[in-house]
């Protein structure tokens, strides 16, 4: 469908850069900072929109791995959530359903950790899956510029394709 979302966002950024920015009082540092951040945010979203579905799937896969490992470490209530996640992944469900289940798994896993302090197997499970999830999130947000050594980090393409 035209105009597509990418074109609309590109047009919005162009308007902000070419028309709105020159109209702002250069002494208004707060307005200028926020305008530049708004433009950068729109540009960031443009690059990420086409990848959104793949991210949702990967995040649910990470959550499913967490549920499976936490269940094996004693948080048995998460076994059913792991099965539910597999069913959603197999059926190619819509992103909202996948994300809702992911949030449910994270909630249940956090409660399992809170209920069983000192359980080494639980700690191991949380740390193992946290590496996958933080790597993904860091790659997703890498364009924000907060990585000290971005070249040394796994790329988003690699993490989404593995």
């Amino acid at each position: 469908m035209v105009p597509d979302l990418e074109l609309q966002l590109a047009a919005a950024t162009k308007a902000l850069r070419e028309v709105v920015a020159p109209a702002i009082d250069p002494a208004n540092a707060v307005a200028l900072e926020q305008l530049h951040l708004a433009m950068a945010t729109v540009d960031f979203v443009r690059t990420r929109l086409p990848l959104r579905r793949r991210r949702v799937v990967r995040e649910l896969e990470n959550a499913q791995a967490l549920a499976t490992q936490v269940a094996a470490a004693g948080g048995r209530a998460l076994a059913a959530l792991a099965e539910e996640a597999q069913a959603l992944l197999d059926s190619g469900a819509d992103g909202a359903a996948m994300d809702a289940l992911r949030l449910g798994i994270l909630d249940a896993a956090e409660q399992a950790v809170a209920a069983d302090p000192g359980n080494k197997d639980l700690s191991r499970a949380v740390l193992d899956v946290a590496r996958q999830q933080t790597d993904l999130a860091r790659a997703w947000f890498a364009p924000m510029g907060f990585e000290v050594d971005p070249a040394g980090r796994p790329t988003l393409e690699h993490l989404l394709e593995r």
Binding site: A29, E110, S123, V126, R138, F146
Partner: protein, 404 residues
């Protein structure tokens, strides 16, 4: 939306009572956090205009000194991610009613919701306590509860100086990764270390005058456990989604809390970006942003300022400079000489976990929550900053792997 998510969106009495009971914190912070939750449920955010802020500032000053003054040149101040700041000139006769003068001032007011919800009373008290210890702006007035101002606020003198060299503009927001350059670096580094040592060795009598702070007892770990509870409570109140890593970190921090060996004033955000300096004299003119200050363990500041996200590599591409000023080991060595206090690697590691844990809470819980409710004057900045939480959670995960 789960029941707990709904309660976070519009906290009711039951939710508020539950978090207060589960996570005991200092009385002043309990007051602030409880007010935050009650305000969240109160409805939409209303932006505060410059004229409205000038009017309420005028009312506050008149309450304090009477009507013999004028306000001019009111303008918004940029910089910082958490508080709303307005600069203005005050035409008056000073607190002693002397000769007419013009004093540049700042109103520092919290927005309806902030990336860190803190106490203006504590900030005001700590700023006053640090006068004569390190350069800080002179504090004049406070509206602790937002009875006159739109929200709680303090008014202090506008400190002169810059946070980063004008010739070397930072590409990042709020002082992160500031590069001072090889010529300015050693001059500022010397003052940076000396000031840190002075803050941490402030006399016990100075700390005893801080009424909005609970004392921290040497030989006990109750103070740091209370700090862990503070941020664990905020996580419970603000997080948009759960993260078992944060719960795991909180458990480890409580189980391994070290006993205090020396009670220090701890700035809580001592780093490049939070001091101003004069580019001509190359002197630090003011330390700002004391809102996260506590009485506690110096290693909290030492670990914080040596964090990866506040530094960068030197021109050789190999030497990492803490806060863009000094290699970590050299900084700690100089600090030990200046303060007479030791730097304990085990405590540094403990507070690395603590600081990353607290930062995860700020960025992945509160920053997101603030933007979700649209309750600050700079949601776009807050939402942008939130993403650094993933870099920090990666570091938290790696450190926990080492210690667990």
């Amino acid at each position: 939306m789960t029941q707990a998510d709904a309660a976070r969106w519009a906290p009711d009495d039951r939710f508020i009572a539950a978090v207060r009971a589960r996570f005991p914190v200092e009385p002043e912070m309990d007051r602030v956090l409880t007010a935050k939750l009650r305000d969240r449920a109160s409805g939409a955010h209303r932006p505060v205009g410059l004229d409205e802020l000038v009017d309420s500032t005028r009312t506050l000053i008149e309450r304090e000194i009477g009507p013999d003054f004028q306000i001019s040149r009111a303008r918004w101040l940029g910089g910082g991610a958490s508080k709303l700041q307005m600069a203005f000139d005050l035409h008056w006769r000073g607190l002693e009613c002397g000769e007419p003068r013009v004093t540049p001032m700042v109103v520092r007011m919290q927005p309806a919701a902030s990336i860190v919800e803190t106490s203006r009373r504590r900030e005001f008290e700590m700023l006053q306590a640090m006068r004569g210890v390190v350069p800080v702006p002179e504090c004049y007035w406070i509206d602790e509860l937002g009875e006159i101002m739109p929200h709680p606020a303090i008014i202090y003198a506008l400190a002169q100086g810059v946070a980063k060299p004008r010739a070397r503009p930072s590409v990042q927001v709020t002082g992160i990764g500031t590069n001072f350059g090889p010529e300015l670096r050693p001059v500022l580094a010397q003052q940076f270390v000396e000031h840190l040592a002075r803050v941490h060795t402030a006399p016990a009598a100075t700390l005893a005058g801080l009424t909005a702070f609970e004392p921290a007892a040497v030989g006990s770990n109750a103070g740091i456990v209370r700090q862990v509870m503070w941020w664990r409570r905020v996580w419970e109140e603000d997080r948009p989604e759960a993260m078992p890593l944060v719960e795991l970190a909180a458990q480890w921090l409580v189980a391994n809390a070290p006993v205090l060996d020396h009670a220090s004033a701890v700035h809580g955000d001592f780093r490049a970006g939070n001091f101003l300096f004069d580019e001509d004299s190359r002197q630090i003119t003011a330390w700002l942003d004391w809102e996260l200050a506590v009485i506690g363990d110096r290693h909290q500041d030492l670990s914080w300022l040596s964090g990866h996200h506040f530094g960068h590599f030197a021109e050789d591409g190999r030497t990492f400079l803490a806060c863009g000023l000094l290699p970590r080991d050299e900084l700690f060595e100089r600090y030990e000489k200046a303060s007479g206090l030791t730097v304990d690697p085990a405590r540094l590691k403990y507070f690395r976990v603590y600081n990353d844990f607290a930062s995860c809470v700020h960025m992945l819980a509160t920053a997101c929550r603030v933007a979700m409710h649209g309750k600050s004057h700079q949601d776009v900045l807050v939402a942008w900053l939130a993403s650094i939480g993933h870099v920090i959670s990666g570091a938290l995960r790696d450190t926990l792997e080492e210690v667990l």
